[in-house]
Amino acid sequence: MTVESLYPRLEPLLAQVQKPIQYVGGELNSQVKPWDSVAVHWALMYPDAYEVGVPNQGLMILYEVLNERPDALAERTYAVWPDLAGLMREAGVGQFTVDAHRPVRDFDLLGVSFATELGYTNLLEALDLAGVPLHAVDRDESHPVVVAGGHAAFNPEPVSDFVDCAVLGDGEQVVGDITDVVAAWKSQGRPGGRVELLARLSRVEGVYVPRFYAVTYAADGTIAEVLRTRDDVPPRVSKRTVMDLDEWPYPKQPLVPLAESVHERMSVEIFRGCTRGCRFCQAGMITRPVRERTITGIGSMVDAGLKATGYEEVGLLSLSSADHSEIGQLAKELADRYEGTNTGLSLPSTRVDAFNVTLANELSRNGRRSGLTFAPEGGSERIRRVINKTVSKEDLVRTVTTAYANGWRQVKLYFMCGLPTETDEDVLEIAELAVEVIRAGREASGSKDIRCTVSIGGFVPKPHTPFQWASQASAETIDHRLKVLREAINADRRIGRSIGLRYHDGKPGVIEGLLSRGDRRVGRVIERVWRDGGHFDGWSEHFSYDRWATAAAEELAPFGVDLAWYTTRERTEHEVLPWDHLDSGLDKEWLWDDWQDAISEDEVGDCRWTGCYDCGVCPTMGTEIQIGPTGRSLIPLAVVGARPQVDVHADAAVADPVHTH
């Protein structure tokens, strides 16, 4: 079957829409393979606008891994803005890939990466535009298999009506396994139709096929049990974990769009996983154990990526980059290597720690020191013990003051409100802290030209975390706490004018909470919202709380549950949670104990340094911590002109991560 490009029919429409460049593809390092040259065709979707989706690392990695296979091709598709979607419906042009503008409808698989639950309505819009039935049970052999991935896929129950499978954990290897299964099934003449294909996929480790599991409910609305409906599918589905990250140095050829995106830089993931144990953090819980790239592996990726892209900035990504075992040396040696080349280096996420200021100074050695970001998350020492992100007020003020003293003009502090056990007093301490930081900072820097921006959002409890049982604060509580905080910050104008407050009201968090900890019954709410015109829920100008609240009230009423039941209700220890049959490796008893420790303000250490505390992941998954130091260093590159000339790619070959446990 040859598939025609939709571009000739799309092009006249593009002249009539905003930012048409986002729909034409042709990004540097993108690729188009002939349709008939491969057995398996993947469309990869990031369910948000192109400018948000195109820099996504996960999608970029899978795109490259799949396209390297001789028997597969992968193309990308993104959420289409309403202006173009309307024209496409009028002209009968379906959802298309940006690479070769092929119809998504004609691919074998549609992989969708859910970084957040707020992309669910955009999946429905894309399926509808593509001409693919919304409900998985209505699809036949001619339709793509819809595969959900990403962190939100650890509870895919709210979208289980719409996806055929969900993949748990790292995607690099499992996409290959899925490709093998689809290729074999196609070459055998599609035996058993779609159901047989899904049954085969359900036997791939990490792949969950919701239709083979039946959920029953108790009279009180909770889940009675989740049972498989076939003997040949696993009773629980386990996540996938990629070990030895140096062997997976993707993306090797990062995509560089012509259009502006939300991240105008190249990213290198320096490690995956985090065991700091912050109790609110789903990413830190579901991506264990920590697996580091070696210093030399990172050096090779930075060098190859800069050559392949021409970017002028590299972000060293991870959940807590300063925790890399070789970070000090890495920062120094990268700064040495790129000195005088107008190449910027940055660490995006930072704990409150004096060492982070040292690192940031090193990376900005000869560049502008504009802004530095710290994430204390909790306003008071007490609440920071509850969330297990302990830092004393004195240390916090000292760290931020050091930053000002070192020439940083603006410090951003990230907080959450609505955390379990939180009171107004915990949040009001944020104001005290900000005032103190500005006072001390003005003194230390000798300048009034310093700023502190407090950025604060409502906490949303997530599955597979110790807070999965917690009551989510209501929108009214969040809005009240933000109000008293705002008043406290503005109390003294002489200080307050140096403090900025950025916040979102509490309502969107309630909907995120519904989708995060929802079960299959929530699928009707999502579908209703989409039918009522809802999409782009991550965008305040498109998000409508009232539309969601109305849909939830009406669609959930027949089940005897409501929005509050899913959000502000605290769960009991033995309640069957919608995601209990999906295994992140974390022991549910350990999670419960950690939840109890949170309430009694007891801290837990980091297993990299204080020993194993039996969270359960390594033994359950057969994995282990992979960290350095390796004792290696980066070979200085001969720098000619504005760019490094020596390809150090060869030293990746000697990279062998040191394993410790």
Binding site: E312, G340, R368, Q645
Partner: protein
């Protein structure tokens, strides 16, 4: 105390190059900001020794001029770069062309000759070719005749300050109607005034004077950009640099 960058100031500009490039195919949908980003990254990949401004956030020395609007294709976009080391213009052209996506093709690169004046001053008119599928050639010719016979044709133009009335007639220097493969083609030479009269504005003017409303979107290509010569033609803006360069070379050739 305010920090200042350590070390010596960045090396000065020792050579200026003037380049002509295209915006073809799907890349006609790129905006001037998209193109600027693409060019800057391509210059880095091609390892062109750019001169940078001083300070904490050094910028490569690049001047963009007269960008064609988003959605319009172009065979004649121009920009100027400052280099910190002398380079062979043809080698820079080839290296840059190779590192840009297909559709942004670098066609020419000449060294700016000192005293030859600014390039921006030489870009005061554009020759547009506007393909109008579905429009009758005779009807188009009549509409163009009507437009040229007017003194002033007011059209509403969308600017960042909202809709604004402008005269689309004054800027039009000349227009010609032809037909290729059954498609009516309007070739129009437009002077670059402020606010700029773009192909959209010319089409709006044709709608005003003759109610010409194409059934399909018009496709515009900037064929040439430069100074208007006495015959109403658009002259090559890189011409003066070429002429002065070759006469300089003749002077310096030992007899």
């Amino acid at each position: 105390m305010a920090r200042t960058p350590d070390g010596p100031p960045p090396p000065p500009t020792v050579q200026k190059l003037r380049l002509r490039y295209t915006k073809r195919g799907p890349l006609r949908f790129a905006s001037h900001r998209d193109l600027a980003r693409a060019l800057e990254r391509a210059l880095r990949r091609a390892q062109v020794p750019m001169a940078f401004s001083a300070g904490f956030s050094p910028h490569p020395k690049i001047s963009y001029m007269g960008a064609a609007p988003t959605g319009a294709a172009s065979e004649a976009e121009y920009f100027e770069i400052g280099l910190s080391a002398r380079c062979d213009p043809e080698k820079v052209r080839a290296a840059l062309d190779a590192s840009l996506p297909p559709g942004i093709d670098v066609l020419e690169c000449v060294e700016a000759v000192e005293g030859s004046g600014s390039l921006a001053d030489r870009l005061d008119a554009t020759r547009w070719r506007i393909d109008l599928p579905g429009v009758d050639t005779g009807e188009l010719a009549a509409a163009v005749q009507e437009l040229l016979s007017r003194e002033v044709v007011t059209v509403a133009k969308r600017t960042k300050n909202g809709l604004r009335d402008i005269d689309a007639r004054e800027a039009v220097v000349g227009a010609e109607v032809t037909e290729e493969a059954g498609c009516a083609i309007l070739t129009v030479v437009v002077r670059q005034l402020t606010p700029t009269v773009r192909p959209d504005d010319v089409m709006a003017a044709l709608a005003v004077v003759a109610d010409l409303r194409p059934p399909l979107p018009a496709r515009a290509v900037r064929e040439a950009q430069g100074r208007l010569d006495d015959s109403g033609e658009v002259a090559d803006p890189l011409g003066p640099d070429r002429t002065m360069r070759s006469s300089l070379q003749e002077e310096s050739t030992p007899v």
